[in-house]
């Protein structure tokens, strides 16, 4: 009875003008859910940190950068580095790719033709960037009244900070997260980077697009959407905001601790191996004491109740780590799991990639892309029973589908296509002048 069904967003066309992380990933989510995503780029313009730190980074440079952005295949930039940048390729599958120079009038005309045929447009450049090109919502809604025009930005498109420039790290700082995630015994300046605001922003970009499709099904009209990634991010700590607005308390960091339970990250035997554990109830604490061979602690007045244990958290941490550091991580986790305790290994990327559970669920997808070869990629968080989510298109290469889009979708002739090549719209390589 559970026959396959089509992907839920099949038939929806999305124009992806996204840069860096949030826009491209938000679009990829829509692509994964069945939308036809057309990534629009230019061979004359290289937005920093989208398809790499530079279009043509020297090998010495990328070897110096941590793998997340320097981890090109085999640490080599290759012939077309922009198609090999791991950070971009993590946000680039299930998309078609075209190039067009939006600064030229002929490029604007091409783009408008595409917009007329599309349902959703996603941009996450500084608000107003498209207006400056005369391609803002006011211009485009006349071409396509059903167009959903989504502008995501750090602070939103209106308000005193709408023109402020901020990257992911600054959104973390602004939105209150920095002060909620540093080591309790070190100050905020020791925070290492995270881009949760971008990741959550990408999800809200996807959510907003789908919600607007729901609305359009009712009203028949497209609309403008303003996504402030900071506001989206503050929403993810709503309970901490309420502690301030109701109780007047400004929460600080808990590090790895919980509000009430005994919780921490504990060293295991071996090189940089760790587990985490949360112990809530008396029963759980008794089980842990049994496993540690320390049943004497159960009746220790310091650890009698949850409140007492929390008061003596440091002492318990020491006892737990003294024990855990003599054990192999995975054996320890098995032991804790067999007693039904809430614990788990801290998985590094190698562990994650080999993880038996994820493998059993088919989470990793083997994908071949011409400029990078065949690799496993993290798959989708959306597992449907009937709709088959998967990789329909590998990480999109610059201008990869120009011919298909210009000729078949937009209906340009061979002659016009050649003309567009001459005008500098079409190509698969960034212009040589771009470093």
């Amino acid at each position: 009875m559970n026959a396959e069904r089509k992907l839920p967003l099949e038939g929806v066309r999305v124009v992806d003008l996204g840069v860096v992380l949030a826009g491209p990933y938000g679009s990829m989510i829509l692509g994964g859910l069945g939308a036809e995503v057309i990534r629009v780029e230019s061979i004359k313009y290289f937005p920093a940190m989208t398809r790499g730190p530079m279009a043509r980074p020297p090998e010495e440079l990328i070897r110096k950068i941590p793998p997340i952005s320097g981890g090109y295949p085999n640490r080599k930039p290759g012939q077309r580095p922009w198609n090999r940048f791991p950070w971009f390729n993590a946000t680039a599958r299930n998309k078609l790719g075209m190039t067009v120079d939006l600064r030229q009038d002929s490029g604007k005309a091409i783009f408008k033709k595409l917009v007329a045929l599309s349902d959703v447009l996603i941009t996450n450049q500084t608000p107003g960037t498209l207006d400056k090109l005369d391609l803002g919502y006011e211009a485009l809604k006349h071409i396509n009244p059903r167009l959903i025009f989504l502008e995501a930005s750090s602070f939103g498109a209106r308000g005193p900070y709408s023109s402020y420039r901020a990257m992911g790290l600054q959104m973390e700082a602004f939105a209150g997260h920095d002060l909620l995630r540093h080591y309790p015994h070190r100050d905020v300046t020791t925070n290492t980077w995270a881009v949760t605001a971008d990741a959550a922003g990408a999800l809200s970009i996807a959510l907003a697009s789908i919600l607007a499709l729901h609305a359009r099904a009712k009203t028949g009209e497209g609309q403008y959407i303003d996504v402030s990634m900071v506001e989206n991010f503050v929403g993810l700590i709503g309970h901490i905001v309420l502690d301030y607005t109701i109780n007047g308390r400004v929460q600080g960091t808990l590090g790895n601790r919980d509000y009430y339970a005994i919780q921490g990250c504990y060293r295991c035997k071996g090189d940089d191996r760790w587990i985490v554990m949360t112990v809530c109830s008396d029963t759980e604490f008794e089980k842990l004491c049994e496993l540690m061979g320390r049943t004497d602690l159960v009746n220790d007045s310091r650890f009698k109740t949850a409140v007492k244990r929390y008061e003596h958290h440091n002492e318990l941490d020491e006892i737990i780590e003294k024990w855990s550091s003599t054990k192999e991580r995975d054996e320890l986790v098995d032991l804790l799991w067999s007693s039904g305790l809430m614990a788990g290994p801290v998985l590094d990327d190698a562990d994650a990639m080999a993880n038996v559970h994820l493998r059993a669920r088919g989470f990793f997808w083997k994908i071949y892309q011409e400029d990078t070869g065949e690799h496993f990629y993290p798959g989708s968080p959306f597992n449907f029973l009937k709709a088959k989510v998967g990789c329909r298109l590998p990480p999109v290469r610059l201008g990869e589908h120009n011919e298909q889009i210009y000729k078949h979708l937009l209906g340009y002739s061979e002659e016009q296509y050649k003309e567009f090549i001459t005008q500098g719209h079409i190509g698969e390589e960034f212009e040589d002048s771009i470093p």
């Binding site: 901020a166 789908i210 009712k218 709503g238 109780n247 990250c265 985490v276 305790l341 809430m342």
Partner: protein, 402 residues
Amino acid sequence: MSVTPLEGMTVLDLTEYVAGPYCTKLLAAFGAEVIKIERPKVGDPMRHIGPFAYDSPNIEGSLAFLDLNVNKKSITLNLNTKTGKSIFYELLKGAHLVVDSHKPGFLEARGLSYDELSYAKPSIVLTTITNFGYTGPYRDIRASEIVLYAMGHEMYGTGKAYDTPLSMAPRLNLYFAGLTAAVGTCAALYGALEDGVGDWLDISIMECFMASIDRRADSLVAYAYCGEKMQRERMEDENQFPPPYTRCADGYVHISLGTRESWRRLAKALGDEFPFSSEETLPPTSEEAQKRFLGFWANWCSQRTKRSIVALLQASGIPCAPVNSVADLVADEHLKERGYFVRLDHRYVGSQLYTGLPIQFEKTPGKLVRGAPCLGEHNSEVYGELGFSDADLNRLVSLGII
């Protein structure tokens, strides 16, 4: 009169704790009628977990519960009884979506599996949000947020190499998983509305983290490409110039001064105070020049507030932000002008300020209209619509069904 995006959609909400309720909060914020189905007398376990309003444990006072359940209705229903189950199926007739976050098997054990639900209503969309998903060897393993974070997310690469791997703001990542679930859920609902065919979305919180481009998914791709994993920051990588955080009169600012262009802008913003002459190389590279800058900068910032520094530097186009506390956010003029925080009423905590909508639609805005429901607050309303009389309801109460 504008419509909301999910107007007309009815959601039977069986979610508890954090991730599931954040998913349905988003649905409720954008117009769906979300009926939260809770266990009689006890309710969502989150109601019993603090911190609490006024620091006083109360079933209506859990701050996370208050935040996660705005705009929803609450009814109580004992799904372990036959009558309870048949009432659920009555509710299902008017529903488009069921969202559940109990452990795998909860629905099956109560005759509410996807097969049974879709047999009763083929267009129904079911979203289950569980720690590890409905299949696979970890399916039944218990987990807390930090366990899921450690296993799913880039905890290993967060923090310092000479200290422990480090977590993030409490509950943040469970909210994040709920946001992820909302995306897939709204998509499935869109598909089902188009062709009348429902589906079951099996969300694994661990996979929400694995697929997150907050470092994990990107670093997995990098690992696949070059065989190197993300590591925590080593001592020798710490002293980057200039440091991103600087202490100022009332806290810290976070500033990106990476490019030559940003230094040119800084020179313009600081005018005569800028400690380099026009002949000197920017960004400063010599040890002497960097030291000179750091000395100047520490002093300059220490005399100013984070807001005034940010206003000045942003006016010159330098990416920067104040390191805000929650109190700063609530007082922030930009968020105020955008009307981000909203005031909602609640029977127990009264009128309070809550975080607002994450998305601003020009024509079909979401609306936050009421605070979280008290346990069973909407029993008479919701059951009344099913045709139950007050006498029927009293009988169900005495039987422990509602």
